[in-house]
Symmetry: C2
Subunit: 216 residues, 2 copies
Amino acid sequence: MSASKKLERKPYHHGDLRRALIEAAIEQLHTSAPTEVSLRGVAESVGVSHTAAYRHFRDKSELMAAVSETGFLQLRDRLAEAKRGHNLFRRQFERMSRAYIAFALEQRTTYRLMFGPRFIEQLTRAGVAESAHAAFAELLTAVMKAQGGGEVRGESPFLISQTAWALLHGLALFYLDGELGPEVDSAIATSACKFLWEGIQGQRSTVDSAPSAKKR
Amino acid sequence: MSASKKLERKPYHHGDLRRALIEAAIEQLHTSAPTEVSLRGVAESVGVSHTAAYRHFRDKSELMAAVSETGFLQLRDRLAEAKRGHNLFRRQFERMSRAYIAFALEQRTTYRLMFGPRFIEQLTRAGVAESAHAAFAELLTAVMKAQGGGEVRGESPFLISQTAWALLHGLALFYLDGELGPEVDSAIATSACKFLWEGIQGQRSTVDSAPSAKKR
DNA sequence: CATATGATGTGACCAGTGGCAACATCAATA
DNA sequence: TATTGATGTTGCCACTGGTCACATCATATG
């Protein structure tokens, strides 16, 4: 076989095992519950001994934390993408909500992992905390900007954003748990966002959809 | 030792092992994550061989489902208790919200278990589904009654209740994950409920909170 | 009262898991 | 060229959930 080149002959050293393990773990999460994903299985699917993983992760939880981190980064991108090109918060909120739930549905198990029981531990790892906050910041900045324009009431943007996030998270779990249908646009998500929107919008809504009798 | 009586001499047959196992599991959940609770550990803490559990539960997950069921029943009682003696939905909602989050905080790990990754599987077991729906019904009936009095807008009580539940669930997880302080009354819960309340209240609010400044 | 029978608990054992330690392999530098 | 540190491997350990054959007992039946 070719001797000079680098591939084919399964080199003793993998090259980028860390990344490969993370991707393999994500792959397994598509078909297995977080609990059922075994470090051994992941290593095997990469064609490597299970202990090799310990050269790149202190233990299994650190590998899973790395998976979470990539999840949060992806979620952040989705949210950023959702609001891009729209200036009205009402519109941004609607699109971000859909994007959020769509992400949770597509990455079901990863999403569960991200917000699962190890969430606290994970947040102690720098990377996870940062990426999680980055995702949250997408929502927060949108709220703050909308407050500047008077579109959203002027109370603490943190409280408002957290409320919205909590609602989205709760909704996402409902979808994941199969209590709701698989269509992101189903009644509940739409209604829920409408209810919250009506609770947080500012007095002088610049463009209040329709002049329908609103205002309290 | 006394031969005629029933206690002391650790009888070969436990008497009510099923219940004892459930309680022991709940006990362990107070100090261990759901994942870390082992069937063997639970059995040992009851002073029984780990295989004895299989006489009462098909497998570990069935034991955990039983734990969930008792959790939902307890949650239902808490919610029922919270609204008892109050007629104004606004007041009921406020109290139920606090009760909900308080329950999640007190039974941290059990709560995680209840809504954890196995939620779907659990719901296929009759007992769990029933108790879960019973808890939800407490909220639902309150909403429906309030709609009758015009206190809550007349849209689908299901959608409204689910929205509220989703919000509460999301909030509860925030508390559990330590993103928020441990005080149930902290700003976020109060604000979140206020925002939602303003989004769902009916047109002719009978008593729109005394104009008192309240706490803001 | 004696005995048979089914419910309940036990011990031995299995495969699978996460993790550790000593060793093997290799790439890069001195 | 030799050494060294990073990376991957093999062998092992304790532990877990689960199955099996067997032990113990409560109770119904003669």
